[in-house]
Amino acid sequence: MMQSLFSFGTHFQHAWSVLHSVLREIFDESAYARFLERRQVVTSPRAYAEFLDETQAQRERRPRCC
């Protein structure tokens, strides 16, 4: 019983972490994290503004499907 509960908990945790990663990618949080890592800077209004500038062209050309 305890083992199956533990197994369920592990699966749930894994599913949640995947879902969270998916949402972070969709909402560009992962892209921002990669930007901070690449530039070796910490998050700040200025860093975020630079991130937006850098990714503007890519985001503007991204179509939204019908």
Binding site: I26, E29, P45, R64
Partner: protein
Amino acid sequence: MSKSARAVVWLVVAASGALSVATIAIHRGEEINAMWLVVAAVCSYTLGYRFYSKFIAARVLALDALRATPAERLENGRDFVRTNKWVVFGHHFAAIAGPGPLVGPVLAAQFGYLPGTLWILAGAVFGGCVQDFVILLFSVRRDGKSLTEMAKDEVGRLGGFVAYVAVISIIVILLGVCALIVVNALKASPWGTFTIAMTIPIALLMGVYLRRLRPGKVLETSVLGFLLVLLAIWGGGWASHTPAVGQYFALSAPTLAIFIIVYGFAASAMPVWLLLAPRDYLSTFVKLGTIAMLALGILALRPTLHMPALTRFIDGTGPVFAGSVFPFAFVTIACGAISGFHSLIASGTTPKLISRETETRMVGYGAMAAESMVAIMATIAACVLQPGTYFAINSPAGIVGQLPEAATAMISSWGFSVTASDMHSLAQAVGEQTLFNRTGGAPAFAVGMANIFSHSIGGQALMAIWYHFAIMFEALFILTVLDAGTRVGRFMVQDALGHVWKPLGRTSWYPSILVNSALIVGAWGYFLWQGVKDPLGGINSLWPLFGISNQLLATVALCVATTIIIKMGRARYAAVTLVPLTWLVAVTFSASYYKIFDPNPRIGFLAHARQLATAAASGATPSPATARLIFNDRLDAAVTAILIVMIAMILIESASGWVRIIAGRKQPVLRESPFVATRFATEEQA
């Protein structure tokens, strides 16, 4: 699990799917439960994924887990990033899921639930999923090249040109139709208009919060934005019941159209990131949440479908749009079955994120199956309505008359009982003044969705909130499609005009931005205006045109895919893309022929123009309005003809290439990136 146990499981899945499809197909004269559609869909997609996509992956495409993808070879932390397959799946699904799979099935429900459901299932398993899968893989093998680049490289210059024109056409027509759906959903609706108007200050607040207070915390900001939108929906109810406020938001269709055209131009021409980026995030957040909620609502409620399997309108006399079940059901439902637009996404961002070639199967085939499931849910939402209610909402005044009594009498005479007082009560329940003449599919979908939600949570008391939640959800993400599409279209026009005069191609030169924005907004704005002024509601003319252009793009994608498969030396498996291509050609050619030449004025553009000309000559209708309608009909006929000539051109060029390769008269040259072994082979094996 042992091999025999697995075989038993798959036999059970196959038997359940067959039983469900048979139940859907055979039942006549009595209502069925929506769960039959759900089970049929789940089993079809599961079987298609497990067996058909595996066959394509192994035999046709020979996916190679040891071949490095562009995300690995060209990794730069920006566009090219190796990403977990589930994350890419979610990203791809969020990008391909749009209003199409929601609206198309609702409109096609006028034929009954059967034609749409069968087309969604078969179209997705054998067409749409295959197209998305193969285009994604071919783009991965070409450093993430776009469909137009692949068409130019693999089919020829003409193929590239046709693909480019197809993309521009679909963008223009799509945006015009999308805008029309929003206008029809919001006209004379202070509640809906107030809610959507409030998303502008909400998005601006989100922008400030995101940029100044919590940089990069998009999820957190989107949750806050969502809570504010819920507040705005509640505020919309207050506004509609407060005449002093409500009068400013009860707008006519032409006024709304002008607002949307100005919005589209501003979104394309001005640096309004503070509004657009947060709106984009908010719209995605609401979209994913609502689709998940709808799925849960259907599973919890297990509603009964009131729409019959087939209606009398399969003969082409339907009020929602004219035209018989073949070919019009197959162009009306595009995105839920096969959508050319997906090939742009599958050759856009997604191929640059794929870590392993083998993952293209799950991302390409799997995400389209999920999108198709959304279309099944939309079918259910439309078909849970009483048919009389469905037709009262979706029928234009030009068909059923302006007055409620006349409309309900007409609809009842078709055998779908409905009364003016039923419709009045329903309108009151959802907080609207009227639900008659709400063409476009969005209001009918919203009523169906509100029906499902209110039976699950809150009962009749929350019906109005759920209805406006659904309207807000549709309008919000259609407006996002509109502003993103306008900018994408503007860039494409700039790229093309840059070849004519270099400064016009400079994306940062303001005169070029203004001119090109005006061009693209003027193009879709014209279609929108035409739809708003059309006495038949606009959808009758424009949705088939949109379906045809979307299927044209799918034809281009399948031509490219078939060409590559033949060049790979796998001509014996070319049927995988050739069969859906043949079907699409049959559908688009037939639909185009009917739309141009059918003698019925409700179907054929030219017949309608002739009818108007005759009426004008006899003095029965005022001539300035008639002259404009005649011009619109001829323009629509010309656009359809141009699209069909495009299909013919790329088909001829592709087919001649296939014949020459197969006959050995042409050396096949694949423009793939050279093979590079992945550095992660050991990780893959482990």
